[in-house]
Subunit: 141 residues, 2 copies
DNA sequence: GTGTTTGCAAAGTGTTTGCAATTTA
DNA sequence: TAAATTGCAAACACTTTGCAAACAC
């Protein structure tokens, strides 16, 4: 989604999310959303931004990732490495996770279906269901 | 499982796992396994141990939780709060997670079934599938 | 006795925060 | 110009580590 976004489209993207299109947010949005679905950590994005000559601080990376997530432009993936992973794909889908490299790969929503959802405890609703398929290196065949 | 474990049973439990039954490990094992299924963070267990008058350091709590996990006595639950959660139930099951309180609740393995598993990327096998059902407070009825 | 385990304090990692300077509308 | 945003550095929370003393076998 948002492949080939132009500058103006990205501005609309942010404004629609209620975020001022500042230089940093625009630059980061273009890195994140220009190239299709991605999974990044704060550090990944920081390195990528600096590599691209974008002047931005790590604190702003964190702020921006959380603001984008709150605005529904990103989703956080619950992997239990120390770091937070953010996913540019906010549609219904799940994840493979390879712990050694820390690689996250999308699984299309249709590829995993639950037969029935468990009844939540009284007083609670189901917010969403996350399926993480943990991978390990295949045994020699 | 391991309800009502006696001292000697706990020693066997550790020895079977290849761990020397030291005073600290025994005390922690009894806290963890005497009372049925539990979900604890390192800090939880540390406070509980100190409250019970068990002399143990936080570093040892961390060591022990990881050793127990490596030995298959515990499982880590992939929730993305900053902390690590350890589960004394190592059988096939899944979890509810309530982010505001940080509460983890077991879902029996049979209550959630996947219709089919996605094919892992080449060179990888599926290690295990984790289903986290995120809860939010119910809207006023 | 020998190798393992423990505890402490220090270091490490990832993330958040306070606040002055800057930018946006 | 008023309000929002940024960057820096310091603070933070959680976890790991190095090493000497204590312990298990």
């Amino acid at each position: 989604m948002l492949r080939m976004a132009t500058f103006c489209e990205e501005i609309q993207h942010l404004k629609a999310a209620g975020l001022r299109p500042t230089r940093q947010r625009l630059s980061l949005a273009r890195l994140l959303f220009a190239e299709g679905d991605r999974h990044v950590t704060a550090e990944d994005l920081y390195q990528e931004a600096r590599g691209a000559g974008i002047q931005v601080s790590l604190a702003t990376i964190y702020n921006t990732l959380h603001q984008f997530t709150a605005a529904g432009l990103l989703r956080e993936v619950p992997v239990d490495t120390g770091q937070s992973y953010f996913d540019t794909n906010t549609t219904h889908h799940h994840h493979f996770f390879e712990p050694e490299q820390g690689v996250v790969i999308d699984i299309p929503g249709e590829a995993v279906e639950l037969n029935e959802l468990p009844t939540p405890p009284a007083g609670y609703d189901i917010d969403r269901v996350e399926v993480i398929v943990r991978l390990r290196r295949a045994a020699r065949p």
